[in-house]
Symmetry: D2
Subunit: 336 residues, 4 copies
């Protein structure tokens, strides 16, 4: 059982608070937000939890083992450095930091103090992504050829300070980071800001690896419909992951291609549309965040090794920095 | 009524032959193919049509007003130049040529001889794309922000000599060429060839314009499912065009975004998922190729102006050439 | 502002409690449940609300204006009669009662005491069903020919004491009751109980009216997938209502049929697949139960007239009684 | 190789002609239609085939081994009796006859003369229905609990002389007949004719068996969308068969229900939505009619036993007669 404080009770904070409250491995000690009206909501819903508008109350509270930061990105580095200095373990809302350099400093500080630093990327904790990880690791898909992701938010919130890459592509990058042990070696990105003084609202990223593998991520804040569809092409099988499907989120297609010299066979494939069966495995439906907070507690207590480590969070920030640079250069490849 | 010969009776030729046979404005005079076994099929199905394995028979036939070329891309230029020299009007299967320089020569020759040179891009003749054209031209969508296209062939045929760009992206480029009067000013492309000695089988293209408009095209020969989905975002309305839908191929969403300073309104949008109605207009279901051959006849007879002109076909070849170059340079932008 | 007590904190009670707590027009005074462990949950989540295991505490509480009953059907009549005798207004969970006779007694008692008696059918309070009501009332659909409903629960809970008709068809009957002013004149039902000592788990109901209108309802507890689809055929337009769609729940098809003598036109229709446009109106997404509890408060205060009246609830019970009888007689029509 | 004549070149005849022409086991000898304009179409498309407007030419042609009848239902009996008398084997378009008594006479005549009499129900020859048959026969689904079918034609052709039962439900009945060895023992049907002097355009059939199995069929000519969906519930697994899906027509759900006394487990099921995996087997995509005509040839030559026998066709006619009677009596059960 670890004792946790949540800092930031805006969009994501209430989800963290609810999960810390209900998790077996965590005890929610206090909640901090600068805005008194947000704090009031906490008091009504959770009368037994301590509340404060002053972050130092959290830092100084000896009952707090760990802090969960859910404030705007720009504040992550400063808050995290103080929390680590106060000896608190950390779970930081994604993205880990607004700059790679900041993320590295946070990592080093945590390592020096032997504190757990994790980042709150939730997708690796979903039943769907965990199932894909199983399929990849067991070589059921064969050699992976491509990862293709298309995310459209149905008229998403235009954020003031960060582009659609930092808001949406960050999720896809966390899945890629989780699924594939090797990191990409380069990135090319294109995109556009359609509104004056606003960040880019559409972006297209291509990630390159040393080996024969490519990932492509499409994100869009200005879409008429919501789409969250991923295709993973392997030498043996291929996966379609549609996160908006209620139950059959993962479909595994027993299809493949072999480079044949037999002309007739090639022709037949052109007009045939399925070769083998399709299979939709049953998925664990536990809420990802519930799984994450239990895992965070286990990591703090040394019972488990972190999945979404600070280091992985930092690598993702680095990719987003490079993608942002490439985007301003209309797709010029940036080495990582 | 124009009299037509079809050259090439492989994958696409039979569709042309059938449509020339059934069209009111055309009379199918003869069919030419190098392969006698293909010619035999024509003889059985269309006993009254002349057949030959020798292209010169077509060139020398005074009964032939126009030639429809449906042979491999590499042969387009050579066959077309001979046909124009023989005074025949031309409809050339897409892409118009394998090289921009060749396409330009074909254009100039046709112009010099005052012959019609058209390219067989069929999408602009579908009810769906024509309806989108109407919506764009009437300003119903408002200023167009982006055109996003995702095409996946379900285990498509790997072609020996051309990449997936020349096989699939060519369709999307023909739609873009048709819908938007201005041509793109630059292109960036990424992609990959997963099999040794084979051309690229996945590709991602971004097209840039002088104005604030971006197009992105994703094509893939190695997909587990078939997808043909296009999103067009406008300032007033947005369109989802799903060519695999049987009837409701076009959905028009009465949605838009305005850059508001009102924080609360922004927040509400984030969690709301539809703002206005959706509307799926009824579409003309005439076969695109039937419409195209009638239009070709009308153009030869001077009654209509070509839609898929040789010039538009040449511009598309140019974009594909530039995209292919960018792809080998991992996304480096190429000016057009 | 009315003061409400909720009786029964099992499956549905928590939803009622949450909505009474959040509604502007209601004040949640107390919650009653026979099971102390359920009461404990209330105490943790809502520390300021009174709780009791004794129904009489509610009856005797002068602070309680109205009672919301969410107990098993078999107890509705007895609890309701006591509550009315104690002068409390009532909102009773659906179905209103287990027998028509009981429902009538409840109605009469409420009328005698001039108390509001409503039944908690939520579908008429959804944005989707309200929109259909608008379309029907404004004659936009023309004369209504049929109402067809298909509801499948994905491996639904087999209930001990009531058949699938009382669990699922009750919803469809409440929609029919709301949409169409006239009541059906007869019912025929078929179905089957596949498990020994269990009630019917599949049922098919046909409702007849005096006029040329038919409704058919299909319900099933033992289905591999979840389906909730309704078709409404009108002389001018037709509606497809799919409650599992996230946003486009209602699609209005501008289609119709006219009895023509023109043979050729009939033939064309056979092979044509859409005649007019389709339109998906934007829907109000307010939670149905939130709307219902506000409406209940307004009815108690005399500001609104009840929509889901006790009388409508009684008519629905009567239809279900007749359907159950018909079902045991393999579809024999029962007059209403 | 059998030699076949097709009688009737209206809606279905051209499909038969094309398949007999292309099948390896059949030789198309001649085509007969009363309408000279239809005959002309045959002459243009198939110049080598004999044509006639006089049925007697077919009867008297010693080169004709078998006749394929594709004329209106009302003529089936008379034409079939003459053809059998002339010693011709028969494939009759569905339904076999307009009256059960007629069908029986045809059966008896064929048996007396030792001629093959088959009915042209195509669904049992599709890859999808054949796969379901495999699943049923191998007990992979376990004991079958229900068969539920919903067919909606998108504004179907209103036929003058037969109701929607004879036009659409006939298909479902042929699948049921094929899948399940035992015949139903009773039928109840409801429905309605919405247009004066027109037959019923919506109908709902329930079939009963001696054992604990029920089938329900819903057909509708007046629908805004096309639907062809079947659910088959078994004790071990369940099937969803959606004929409008392009590739994944058959989905097998590894789900089931067992009557448990464990309250907690029941509750969990209520809120859980999938229990086991889903599996979509790859299907044979051969055209059903191509398979049928080859099978017909094999049956005439004694190499195979008929699947869609005249006897099965007669049983289907009997069910439709009984359903029509039940429909006029508003669902009264009719024994078979």
């Amino acid at each position: 059982m670890i004792r946790v404080a949540v800092v930031g009770y805006g969009y994501w904070g209430p989800n963290l608070v609810r999960n810390y409250q209900e998790a077996k491995g965590t005890e929610l000690v206090s909640v901090c937000d600068l805005d008194p009206s947000q704090i009031k909501k906490v008091q009504i819903r959770y009368p037994s939890v301590k509340t404060t508008c002053d972050f130092h109350d959290i830092l100084n509270d000896p009952l707090v083992d760990a802090i969960s930061i859910a404030t705007p990105v720009a504040t992550h580095h400063s808050l995290a450095m103080k929390a680590l200095a106060a000896g608190k373990h950390l779970l930081v809302e994604k993205p880990l930091a607004g700059r790679y350099q900041d993320a590295i400093e946070m990592l080093e500080e945590a390592e020096r103090r032997k504190l757990v630093l994790m980042v709150d990327h939730t997708f690796p904790y979903t039943g769907a992504v965990r199932k894909i990880k199983e399929l990849v690791d067991s070589d059921e898909l064969g050699e992976i050829y491509y990862y293709y992701d298309s995310v459209r938010v149905n008229l998403g919130l235009f954020q003031r300070d960060v582009s659609v890459i930092w808001d949406l592509a960050v999720h896809d990058l966390s899945i890629i980071e989780y699924l594939f042990p090797q990191s990409p070696s380069a990135v090319s990105a294109t995109g556009m800001a359609h509104f004056r003084d606003q960040p880019e609202n559409v972006a297209y990223l291509t990630l390159f690896w040393e080996r024969n593998f490519v990932a492509h991520v499409n994100v869009n804040w200005l879409a008429p419909v919501k789409i969250r569809q991923t295709l993973i092409g392997g030498g043996k099988k291929m996966v379609v992951y549609d996160d908006l499907e209620f139950t059959e989120k993962i479909k595994v297609y027993d299809k493949g291609i072999s480079v044949t010299e037999n002309e007739e066979e090639i022709y037949k494939r052109r007009i045939g549309y399925r070769i083998g069966d399709m299979w939709a495995p049953v998925l664990d439906r536990t809420e990802a965040l519930a799984r994450l907070v239990e895992h965070f507690a286990a990591c703090v207590e040394g019972r488990e090794q972190p999945i979404t480590t600070g280091a992985s969070g930092a690598r993702i920030v680095r990719i987003m920095e490079a993608a942002t640079e490439s985007l301003t250069k209309r797709g010029q490849v940036i080495k990582l």
